[in-house]
């Protein structure tokens, strides 16, 4: 990604060698700033240095409750570092933090595509090896400065009254608005929607990469008029399906699992589920980086991770975590070796070369 792509969002290190236009804007602002003569935030930054606190960006709802119980509370008990949560999750906010130097949160979780984007835009920090040593974790634990935490499925779910049995069984059915008329909903997230569109268009799972973007966007064009709303927050997807505001939706397995438990009249299909991995990432330049890495290191340890994963039906990425999960439960999780082998997993290495291109294209496509 070039600097101009992220329009003025550049880290302090990047700021110097930039276009002439931007420099003059900066000097223009600096003059104005001198006129204003206000510099309150200096106080704020000084105070941040030795705080025993950490701000974690969360998805709210069920995610946050599970994280609180399995990760935050035990971490605070062990280290005395208080964890405060900040919602909603926003990639833009992560980028804005580096631009403004004011950190709303220190740690966040990113999916594969966002991790790639954040890494390329230099929005996240490399691991502090004194605290979190990649060599001491399992192979492949650290990717693009993100620390793998858990895998989750992007599954298909729908309202029973709209689509009586057998209902929708694949993404192709989801796309087939003739046979299954009704409103649709997907996440506003290029890295998951594009593979789903290709699967719907008949691409075989093992032929998914490299992504055929032209084909994907053609398929997306067909479903676009039927997308009633694009969801961006986990609990939002849950609410939309629960209230019946949308008839069929692509959403995370955890969120929909809560609805199944609450006996909502819905059906979930794991067929062709697109499995993404969530990585812990630390915002670059945050004054609380040390606390942040201590937390990330804790969060991927087998025992806390196992608890967190079980509560949410996530697949732990740390293989050791399965030692703490009863086998009958483990067999249901996305990363249980037998399941993981057969599922469509978004692989960072395969996606990386295309992330920049498809993210940009998706943004433009969705806005037009």
């Amino acid at each position: 990604m070039t600097k101009s792509d992220i329009g003025g969002i550049s880290s302090p290190e990047q700021a110097a060698p930039t276009t002439a236009g931007k420099v003059s804007r900066r000097s223009f602002l600096a003059t104005a700033a001198a006129g204003a003569a206000l510099s309150m935030p200096a106080v704020r930054r000084a105070a941040a240095a030795d705080e025993k606190v950490l701000y974690v960006n969360t998805w709210g709802g069920a995610w946050e409750e599970a994280a609180k119980e399995a990760l935050f509370t035990p971490f605070t008990r062990d280290t005395g570092i208080e964890i405060r949560t900040v919602a909603p999750v926003s990639f833009a906010k992560l980028a804005a933090q580096v631009r403004t130097g004011v950190y709303e949160f220190d740690v966040t979780t990113l999916g594969v595509a966002e991790l790639g984007r954040a890494n390329q835009a230099k929005l996240i920090a490399a691991p502090d090896k004194a605290i979190l040593d990649p060599a001491k974790l399992w192979p492949g634990a650290v990717v693009l400065d993100g620390v793998a935490s858990h895998a989750f499925g992007n599954v298909l779910a729908y309202r029973n009254e709209k689509f009586p049995a057998p209902g929708l069984q694949s993404w192709a059915d989801f796309w087939d608005v003739q046979k299954f008329p009704g409103s649709r909903c997907l996440q506003r997230y290029a890295g998951r929607v594009i593979p789903i569109a290709l699967l719907a268009d008949g691409v075989a799972p093992d032929k998914l990469f490299p992504l055929d973007l032209d084909r994907a966007f053609k398929a997306l064009d067909r479903i676009k008029p039927h997308i009633r709303v694009w969801w961006s927050q986990g609990p939002q997807s849950q609410q939309l399906l629960r209230d019946g505001e949308v008839d069929a939706i692509g959403m995370w397995n955890t969120q929909v699992q809560r609805l199944v438990e609450a006996k909502a009249p819905i059906t979930v299909s794991w067929n062709q589920a697109v499995v993404d991995v969530a990585y812990w990432a630390v915002a670059r330049g945050t004054p609380r980086a040390e606390n942040a890495w201590r937390f990330v290191n804790y969060a991927v340890q087998p025992e806390p991770l196992a608890q967190f994963a079980v509560k949410n039906d996530y697949g732990p990425m740390n293989p050791e975590a399965f030692k703490y999960i009863p086998e009958d439960k483990a067999k249901q999780l996305p990363t249980w070796p037998a399941n993981f082998k057969n599922s469509i997993v978004l692989d960072p290495a395969k996606m990386l070369p295309q992330i920049d291109e498809f993210s940009k294209r998706f943004d433009q496509w969705i806005a037009s």
């Binding site: 003025g8 900066r26 602002l29 600096a30 104005a32 700033a33 204003a36 206000l38 510099s39 309150m40 935030p41 200096a42 704020r44 701000y55 709210g60 709802g61 405060r84 900040v86 919602a87 909603p88 804005a96 631009r99 403004t100 130097g101 004011v102 709303e104 949160f105 961006s232 927050q233 609990p235 939002q236 849950q238 609410q239 629960r242 209230d243």
Partner: protein
């Protein structure tokens, strides 16, 4: 005498008023609902969402922030607008029309434009996510409201009172303190109240420039909309509505009570 059937038009007006009031008939019952999301009529009633509104830090902090920012904005706006209103009403000077235009402009410029403006400008000044930034932004936007109310009040102010005081030997500052200010006090109160509400309700700019520790109530409500639209929103809404109800109804009732006293010339 003229004969005009007033009933049909009154009925129409009444029905439209009902429509205008309709949301409140929904939001208030919703706030006592036990339903986890948007469901009307509610399946059951409890006070749980109020409890969350008043105890959950995710809601109490924004409430507190909005009050602080609203008060800060009120004080700063009045401090700047009051003298300007005096200048506009009592003096003629070069550039008065231009000044008037600039003072009124924040009323017309769309908030999203200012949100972008502040996001980038305050970003460079390191004022995003600070009380200061929000108070400065809200003060600009509230300036026209305060100016309008204060100039209107000043225009009706009888300057003979001041002249009389001066003739009696009172110094200008004393006159201001003992004569001008007490007469204008209601106007200041009204202007202050309107400015406060203006700041308290402002959503778009707060969405872009407030942050973790300075989140305002409207921003938290907006995010809650997106997150899960849970009924804490309806509790928050009902609290806000009740506050407005008190602010609007109490003066009206007081006026009505005063009107009860026999007034000459009214049979």
């Amino acid at each position: 005498m003229y004969s005009e059937k007033t009933f049909p038009i009154k009925l129409v007006a009444g029905l439209i008023a009902l429509f205008i009031a309709a949301p409140m008939f929904i939001v208030i019952p919703m706030s006592f609902s036990t339903a986890p999301s948007l469901e009307f009529p509610p399946p059951g009633y409890w006070l749980g969402y109020y409890q969350r509104f008043f105890t959950d830090r995710n809601w109490t902090l924004p409430l507190f922030n909005s009050i602080v920012i609203g008060l800060g904005t009120t004080v700063l706006t009045l401090a700047l607008a009051a003298p300007a209103a005096f200048a506009l009403v009592r003096h003629d000077f070069r550039g008065k029309a231009l000044l008037n235009l600039v003072l009124m402009m924040p009323l017309v410029v769309p908030h999203i434009v200012m949100a972008l403006a502040y996001y980038s400008y305050f970003g460079a000044l390191r004022l995003v996510q600070s009380y200061t930034g929000l108070i400065l932004a809200h003060t600009c936007l509230s300036m026209p409201v305060a100016i309008l109310i204060l100039t209107a009040a000043l225009k009706t102010f009888d300057r003979n009172l001041e002249r009389a005081a001066a003739n009696l030997g009172s110094r200008p500052l004393t006159t201001f303190r003992l004569v001008t200010l007490p007469v204008l006090k209601p106007a200041f109160l009204v202007a202050g109240l309107f400015v406060f509400i203006h700041s308290f309700d402002e959503t778009v700019i707060a969405l872009f420039i407030s942050g973790r520790d300075t989140t305002t109530l409207p921003r938290q409500m907006f995010n809650s909309f997106l997150m899960q639209a849970d009924p804490v929103l309806s509790a928050a809404s009902s609290v806000l509505f009740t506050a407005v109800l008190i602010a609007v109804a109490v003066p009206a009732v007081m006026r009505a009570m005063r009107r009860r006293r026999p007034t000459p010339g009214r049979a």
